[in-house]
Amino acid sequence: MRITHIRLVSQIFFIGLFLFFTFITQFGYLKGYPVSLFLEADPLVAIATAITTHTLYRGLLWSLVILIPTFLLGRFFCNWICPYGTLHQFIGWLFDNRSVKERIESNRYRKVFALKYYILIGLLVAAVFGSLQIGLLDPICLFFRSVTVSVLPAIDMATGWIYVQPFVHQFAWLVGFLLFFFVSMNLVIPRFFCRVVCPLGATLGLLSRFSLWRIERDEKKCDSCNLCLQRCEGASDPHTALRKSECVVCFHCIDDCPHAALSFKMLPPLSHEVTLPDLNRRRAIFAGLTGLLFFPFSRSSGDLTKNFKKEIMRPPGAVAEPEFLERCVKCDQCIRVCPTNVLQPALFEAGVEGIWAPIMNMKMGYCELNCTLCGQTCPTGAIQKISIAQKLGLGEFAKLGLVRTGTAFFDRGRCLPWSMDTPCVVCQEVCPISPKAIFSREAEITNRWGKKVKLTRPYVDPTLCNGCGICEHECPVKDLRAIRVTAVGETRSQERSLLLK
């Protein structure tokens, strides 16, 4: 049994586990499974949120399970565990039509691989200022998001195995396209994402400098045949001075060397390798500058303050917006677990910082009253784990009051009993609060034909409304609903409150 076979079994296990978790992150299957485990164990999520919040949220302690072995073995995560890396390796292998010589050339180190470090620097500097954007390119977040938003709906369309009633996600085409793009780039450069883009790989690469075990080449046995490059996954130049920050511990070089010149040794001499990534200092500073300027450029667009977007209703239990943007890693686990499809990946509705973070869209769904699943799965505390009692303001939370995500407002010009002399009040019927947050007054009018008609006309009681949006969702005026919920009145923000008391 070769080490590469054991590694392959490990990869298959972890990608299977990851996909299993994406499948069961749904009411009915969830039970007690630790579906957020990959995100909680992701060192970049832990490090970046520690930078933005100065804390390590709950389950993120699991990141030590990856971090500590990295200090021992190097970037083993990338080729033993990372499900996204496994996907890239698999697709690259499946569609590989290169000769041995071409493969060797394709696995040589290229200067462009430094890009992932510049990306990481930019992202971390932005994090220092309070804008968490690592989720855009972190492989676990990206993969979970892509599966949630594009892949599972596609599977469901073909088989009906995923949802009871099909889910849709806005801009699923964009997310699906990006997944496809990164995966297909493996046909140009093997492990393109892992080598050129991945900020987690860059993080682990930088931390590899401390690892005890490293690939060592015996110069006496080596005849520079370059065959170790045939299947080198990290393009780390094992044929000369190993680039430790690129080595993903795939062990292919050891397998392929015909002279047994390569081995995985503890603390070999550092003079035989290139320990740190090949970065140009000025370019690194430039990357930092990009991250630094990103913050004021995006915040001064005003989306959080004067020009806040009414569409950005966040899930119940979400922290205030500036802190939300420090915590959300856009993994879209909340979107996956939400039973009504109300949570949607934003594009620019919350400003450029909020891409793919969850917002509620009442045309698609509404917030189910007796449900707090989003907070249960959020790995970073962007949505806190609140109980149903806290959400509804019951028992010990009665003094605190209920959690409001917004308030409903009638558009009387569109409402059937208000302007069209037609009975309705579906909104009042479905309002789940007791006493209802929508009340009514009887009006007797004379219609255009002279007939006396009794109409029940609805009103919102903003002291009771929690912004769940089922009224908007069920309103029969389907194009632009006659009752609409906006973020005003949300309890997580003093700035956007409506009533004094």
Partner: protein, 326 residues
């Protein structure tokens, strides 16, 4: 060029020419706009059959049962009406249609009491039913509603099959009502059904005043149900034309007295420990309305249904019994 090659190539060309010409002619659609829309309107619709059973002359058609144990209450009530055997026979596929509309726990009275469902299911099994299907198209999310209302667990305990309202389970169905002619219906449960039993909670309703056994069939419909409210009393009367169940149970073990149909506080609920079993939905609902302390003469859909000959509000003049059970 050799003759063989000539024949091969000219032949292939011939086939291509003739093939495309024939294909084009075969696919050709020369209908006018009027014809096109007329054809697309006449889609295949399903029909509903009647699930009523023949009743013996003089049989008791309505039982009002008081008690605390739903199992004993159902037995006592049906016992007065001729026993379960006069409704369900060996080999029957029974669809039990509860109200699972909202993601509420049973104590809040917004959904059918799971113990009542179990009692009805057990009786059907004793009568020899081959299969029991529990189905509803909730307003809130189906999986959550079935679970939180306790109906999922109840069905599992009695070995009944829960059918969830997936899009493929719906079909356009003829209703032939005064307002509704055809409508998208949750048809799959009915495909195999030989008997249908409605088990409806007794709830205050903000629009139609009370949701009872007639309104319960709303949960079998899909599509744009949120339009029914524009003519709610006529539509509810249409429901009693659309569905002719084997019998219905008005689950008044807990009555939602206010803030219906969703409720939300225990103080909205009154424990009335009553079941009303009957074959005439109009009669059952007429009695049920009095449980709210309201006057049935004022309930629009009852008057409309009676005027259309779909049932009678004069249950007192018919064969009914009141029973005390366990």
């Amino acid at each position: 060029m050799e003759r063989r090659e000539f024949l091969k190539r000219a032949g292939a060309t011939c086939i291509a020419v003739v093939g495309s010409a024939l294909g084009a002619v075969w696919l050709h659609d020369s209908r006018s706009g009027a014809e096109y829309f007329r054809d697309s309107k006449s889609k295949k619709t399903k029909s509903l059959k009647s699930y009523r059973v023949n009743r013996m002359k003089g049989a008791v058609d309505m039982a009002i049962v008081r008690g605390k144990d739903p199992d004993k209450m159902m037995r006592a009530g049906l016992g007065e009406m001729g026993g379960i055997g006069s409704f369900v026979q060996k080999g029957d596929v029974v669809v039990i249609k509860p109200n699972v509309a909202f993601d509420r726990p049973p104590a809040l009275g917004a959904t059918t009491n799971p113990d009542v469902l179990k009692a009805v299911a057990r009786l059907c099994q004793e009568a020899g039913a081959r299969k029991i299907i529990v189905a509803d198209n909730p307003i809130n999310q189906p999986e959550g509603c079935f679970f939180k209302s306790g109906i999922q667990q109840a069905a599992e305990e009695v070995g009944a099959e829960v059918m969830l309202p997936r899009p493929s389970a719906f079909a356009l169905t003829k209703i032939d009502g005064e307002v509704l002619s055809t409508w998208l219906m949750f048809y799959r449960p009915l495909e195999q059904a030989t008997k249908v039993i409605g088990v409806a909670p007794c709830k205050d309703h903000n629009l139609c005043s009370a949701s009872m056994t007639m309104k319960n069939w709303y949960g079998l419909l899909g599509g744009r149900r949120n339009q029914f409210h524009q003519q709610i009393h006529d539509v509810i009367a249409d429901f009693s034309h659309m569905m002719k169940p084997t019998f219905v149970v008005l689950d008044a073990t807990r009555v939602l007295m206010q803030n219906g149909p969703t409720g939300g506080r225990l103080s909205d609920v009154s424990e009335m420990n009553t079941l009303v079993i009957g074959t005439d939905m109009v009669a059952v609902d007429t009695y049920g309305y009095t449980l709210f302390g309201r006057d049935p003469d004022k309930l629009g859909y009852l008057r409309k249904a009676e005027a259309r000959g779909l049932g009678s509000t004069k249950w007192k003049e018919q064969n009914w019994r009141e029973v005390l059970a366990g």
